[in-house]
């Protein structure tokens, strides 16, 4: 387990995860859509996608999460809004809250395709679950950053003040991962 303190990271793990990520993302979307007819669904799909994000974090460190440039709160809000909108939509049509609409298409080659409005609801659930897990992840990343910043500030103050006895800081060089 590594923090921001630069302990070694497995290159092999990082490469494996890089290769695995698209597979996991595709699988998570597959799970969500298939959920209407077979085991799966938005909760499961969202958890798989979240697992992919966490795997990247474990393999490549906080940069992997930061480089996504997504605020988890936006994901949470978007997911909740999508689910609520899907629920409200039938009201405009004179239907009931969360009433399902079924659209059938006949695209060439594939034959009949069916789209159910509640699949959109599941997508909302999916996005929200990803957001929640990412929020937790970001919380820990931020907390690590905070500790690092505090250390840096402390070091700076100490060097400015000319303290050179190290009696007070046996812990600053210790990595959390070694506990």
């Amino acid at each position: 387990m590594s923090g921001t303190d630069g302990t070694r990271r497995s290159m092999i793990l990082a490469e494996t995860v890089n290769g695995l990520t698209p597979v996991l993302l595709a699988f998570s979307i597959f799970l969500t859509f298939r959920g209407h007819n077979a085991p799966g669904g938005g909760f499961a799909g969202g958890l798989v996608m979240a697992a992919a994000v966490i795997l990247r974090y474990l393999a490549s460190g906080p940069e992997a999460v930061r480089s996504l440039r997504i605020d988890p709160i936006v994901l949470i809000g978007a997911g909740l809004a999508l689910a609520a909108l899907v629920g409200t939509w039938p009201l405009l049509d004179g239907g009931e809250f969360l009433e399902s609409s079924i659209w059938k298409f006949h695209p060439p080659l594939i034959g009949e395709m069916k789209l159910v409005s509640s699949s959109l609801f599941d997508i909302g659930v999916h996005v929200l679950v990803v957001g929640v897990v990412m929020a937790v992840l970001v919380a820990f990343v931020e907390a690590d950053d905070e500790v690092a910043r505090a250390n840096a500030a402390r070091e700076e103050l100490r060097s400015n003040a000319g303290h050179d006895d190290a009696s007070g800081d046996p812990g600053t060089t210790t990595s959390g991962g070694e506990r």
């Binding site: 966490i54 699949s119 103050l157 506990r179």
Partner: protein
């Protein structure tokens, strides 16, 4: 009627709007609303008195009969005229009384708000409306008694009054609800037209009377009223003599014709009324503050009217309504006049007032007229009403209880005459002794030294005519209505018909010839004068003792607070594990009770296991779970919990729940990762923290909770009586929602609203995590920017953070 009540509400809000800023316009504006109400009532009076009863309804929950429902009958008209008429006069008087003050907006708002609530009480037809307006008057009364909010006396008195009348209000509510259920209606008029009877009704009536007694300051709840004199004098005149304290009487007057013969009604009203009459009279003899003496007199007079209205015979009801009018007129007059005296002479202490008859001739005349009405001396309205009351009591046809009421009222009336003379002489008399130290409980050990000298009459400044206008009008009415007894009596008969049709033939007379009531009256007045004469010296130096009832109340209040503190100390120990333990034990106890109460026969059908795979799987899951308890290291414990969760996923799969298995598997994985993230920084081993309870107690609690929960689960699984909706969902899933996985269809379609709620919970948890982080970051930044020194200080002991 509803627009009028709304006008009161609007005026209330408008007057409160300026807050602490000066609002001299507030009182005149507030006075306009009851004035308009008075005018409207006058315009309605002829049609109302001829039986045309306007009503108004604002529905809220019609299924339960809840809403605001009003009805203007004769008695409502009569009380409405008193409330709005005296309200207008009091508010005009207040402009002179208060002069320049910054909080007049608040005063005016509360007064007009009270007037609206009081009108609601007298017009209410719905039982709920009655209660709501009743409590509104309690609240406005509380705020007005505590108007001088810097004074501990006023705050304490306001709280006392509110608690007593508020608790009474709750009793009234309970009584009204019971009556509503018994009578099968929520309308007061329908209830009174077809009164229910029986034990429940008797209980309900006792509760209603408890409410009425608290509001009308009847023994043993009388003590809040003298305390309420901490309010400014116009407030006392309006709320605590003319109107609010009549609310209990209004309810009794409406109920008595229908319910007086049910259960203990008559015994209660007569005993409480007579006790208040006599006790109030004695107390009034011992006060030196004229306002307090009047307050005790009010308790006494309210007791008198309680007996009359509560007996419920046509004669006493009629006389009681006449007394209501007479009392409202003379008591408001006397309070307002005491306010004038207080303003002019600077004191209400009757030991210091002297020579005011000459210094304030108009006020003196007003006081004499109002006192005459109070003491029932002809030709005032008080005399006419008292004659009628004695006449009715002589002929109640109720046997012993009527006789007791008559004797009690004659005795109380002697006291009334005595204290009336005492107050009038105390206010206006020529020779005041001054307050000496040895009189006072507040004094020291001096012997007869003069503490406060009598007021010098030459220094008393005459009040403005506007100041005296309101008491003048009211006093004049006491006199004029007494002289015009015949038409007034005719009008009152039309009013009281709405209470009891049998009062239609009643009448008032100023002169009835020499008959028993007149002889009794003469005797009462003679005995009253004699009582005053023989006690004048003794009562001159007594100081008002701290009322026993108040002392008992205060002691009860103090011990309530002390008890609450002890309960809090025991129940709020501050230990989270203890709280959790208590919650879990309660859950266990509740489940065990349900189990013991239910039948256990069905459990014999339960199989040992559903499949051969189940037993080893469950054993492994349980072992992993138990291993968590023994784990010394955080990480080990988390991994063991995860292992137990993975096993549980397989249990779900065996049960036929692949969706759950997938979700459980993913969640366990993510949980372990999150634990990993958190635990990487936390100490490796659990710290052996001091425990709140010995280990064996915790083990016993855990075993008991585990067994009861499992027993409950078994019992529940065998208790199904209806078919599950699951079958319908299975059948409808594909045609209605176009999906074959029923679990998912339930989540996103059939019970989609539930899922929406559940993902909202998730969203809140996620947002909570994010904000936790952001708050910490802001804090950190602020600290770095502004408080470099503290960072340095903390850096001296980094080992605490990096242990």
């Amino acid at each position: 009627m509803i627009p009028l009540l709304l006008a009161h509400l609007v005026a209330f809000l408008v007057c409160l709007a300026p807050g602490r800023r000066s609002a001299r316009w507030a009182l005149p504006v507030a006075a306009a609303v009851p004035a308009v109400t008075f005018g409207w009532l006058v315009s309605q009076s002829s049609s109302v008195l001829h039986g045309d009863v306007p009503s108004a309804n604002l529905e809220w929950v019609p299924q339960l009969g809840l809403g605001i429902s009003l009805r203007l009958d004769g008695f409502g008209l009569f009380m409405g005229l008193i409330v709005s008429g005296i309200g207008t006069l009091v508010m005009l008087y207040s402009t002179a009384y208060f002069g320049r003050r910054d909080d007049l907006g608040r005063l005016a708002g509360l007064l007009v708000g009270f007037a609206g609530a009081m009108l609601g009480i007298v017009w209410a037809d719905g039982l709920l409306s009655l209660f709501v307006f009743w409590e509104l008057t309690s609240i406005t009364s509380f705020l007005l008694i505590g108007f001088e909010d810097r004074s501990a006396t006023a705050r304490s008195a306001a709280q006392r009054a509110f608690l007593v009348t508020g608790l009474g209000g709750l009793a009234l509510l309970a009584g009204l609800i019971l009556l509503g259920i018994q009578g099968g209606t929520t309308s007061l008029s329908e209830l009174l037209a077809n009164p229910p009877s029986g034990t429940v009704t008797s209980v309900a009536l006792v509760l209603v009377l408890a409410g009425a007694f608290t509001k009308s300051a009847q023994f043993p709840f009388h003590f809040w009223l003298p305390g309420a004199m901490a309010a400014p004098t116009p407030v006392s005149a309006y709320l605590h003599s003319a109107t609010m304290v009549k609310a209990g009487l209004v309810v009794v007057a409406r109920f008595a014709p229908a319910f007086a013969s049910v259960g203990p009604w008559r015994a209660l009203v007569v005993s409480a009324g007579l006790a208040s009459l006599v006790l109030g009279g004695f107390r009034a003899m011992r006060q030196q503050d004229a306002k307090l003496a009047l307050a005790h007199g009010t308790v006494s007079q309210l007791g008198f009217m309680m007996v009359l209205l509560g007996l419920g015979t046509p004669g006493t009801t009629y006389a009681g309504v006449a007394m209501l009018l007479a009392h409202a007129l003379f008591k408001a007059t006397l309070f307002l006049s005491v306010g004038v005296v207080d303003h002019s002479a600077g004191t209400r202490d009757m030991r210091r007032l002297q020579g005011l008859a000459r210094a304030l001739p108009i006020t003196a005349g007003i006081i004499v007229v109002a006192s005459a009405s109070m003491a029932a001396i002809p030709p005032t309205l008080g005399f006419v009403a008292k004659e009628k009351a004695l006449d009715a009591l002589l002929d109640t046809g109720l046997g012993a209880i009527g006789t007791v009421a008559l004797v009690g009222i004659v005795a109380g009336s002697v006291l009334t005459v005595a204290y009336t003379i005492r107050i009038a002489v105390g206010l206006l008399g020529n020779d005041a002794p001054g307050v000496t130290v040895e009189d006072g409980a507040r004094g020291g050990s001096g012997t007869g030294a003069l503490l406060e000298a009598p007021v010098d009459p030459s220094g008393v400044h005459a009040p403005s005519l506007a100041f005296q206008g309101a008491p003048f009008v009211l006093a004049a009415l006491s006199l004029v209505l007494g002289i015009a007894a015949e038409p007034v009596g005719h009008w009152l008969a039309e009013v009281t018909v709405s209470l009891d049709p049998a009062t239609a033939s009643k009448a008032l007379h100023l002169w009835t010839g020499v008959n028993t009531p007149l002889v009794l009256s003469a005797g009462i007045i003679t005995a009253g004068i004699a009582s005053w004469w023989f006690t004048v010296a003794a009562t001159r130096s007594v100081d008002a003792p701290y009322s026993t009832a108040t002392r008992l109340y205060d002691r009860a209040y103090d011990s309530l607070l002390a008890g609450a503190r002890q309960v809090t100390a025991v129940s709020q120990s501050g230990s989270l594990p203890l709280y959790i333990g208590v919650v879990l034990v309660s859950v266990g106890a509740a489940l065990a009770t349900a189990l013991l109460a239910g039948s256990t026969d069905a459990i014999s059908d339960v199989p040992w296991a559903n499949s051969s795979l189940e037993v080893p799987l469950v054993a492994l899951t349980a072992l992993l779970a138990l291993a968590v308890l023994g784990a010394r290291q955080r990480f080990t414990a988390a991994v063991l919990l995860g292992g137990s969760g993975y096993m549980l996923a397989i249990v779900y799969l065996l049960q036929g729940a692949p969706d759950l298995a997938i979700t459980q598997f993913l969640v366990e994985t993510l949980t372990i990762v999150v634990f990993l993230l958190a635990l990487a920084r936390l100490p490796r081993d659990f710290h052996p923290a001091p425990s709140w309870a010995p280990r064996w107690i915790r083990i016993v609690v855990s075993v008991v909770v585990g067994l009861t929960v499992a027993g409950f689960a078994l019992g529940t699984s065998q208790s199904r009586t209806a078919e599950s909706v699951g079958d319908d969902y299975l059948a409808l899933s594909e045609p209605e929602a176009g999906g074959r996985n029923v679990v998912n269809v339930i989540l996103v379609d059939f019970r989609g609203f539930d899922t929406l709620g559940e993902i909202t919970v998730l969203a809140v948890a996620g947002a909570g995590v994010v904000n936790l982080v952001r708050a910490a970051r802001r804090q950190q930044r602020r600290k770095q920017l502004s408080d470099g020194l503290e960072v340095e200080e903390r850096s001296g002991r980094p080992s605490e953070v990096w242990r």
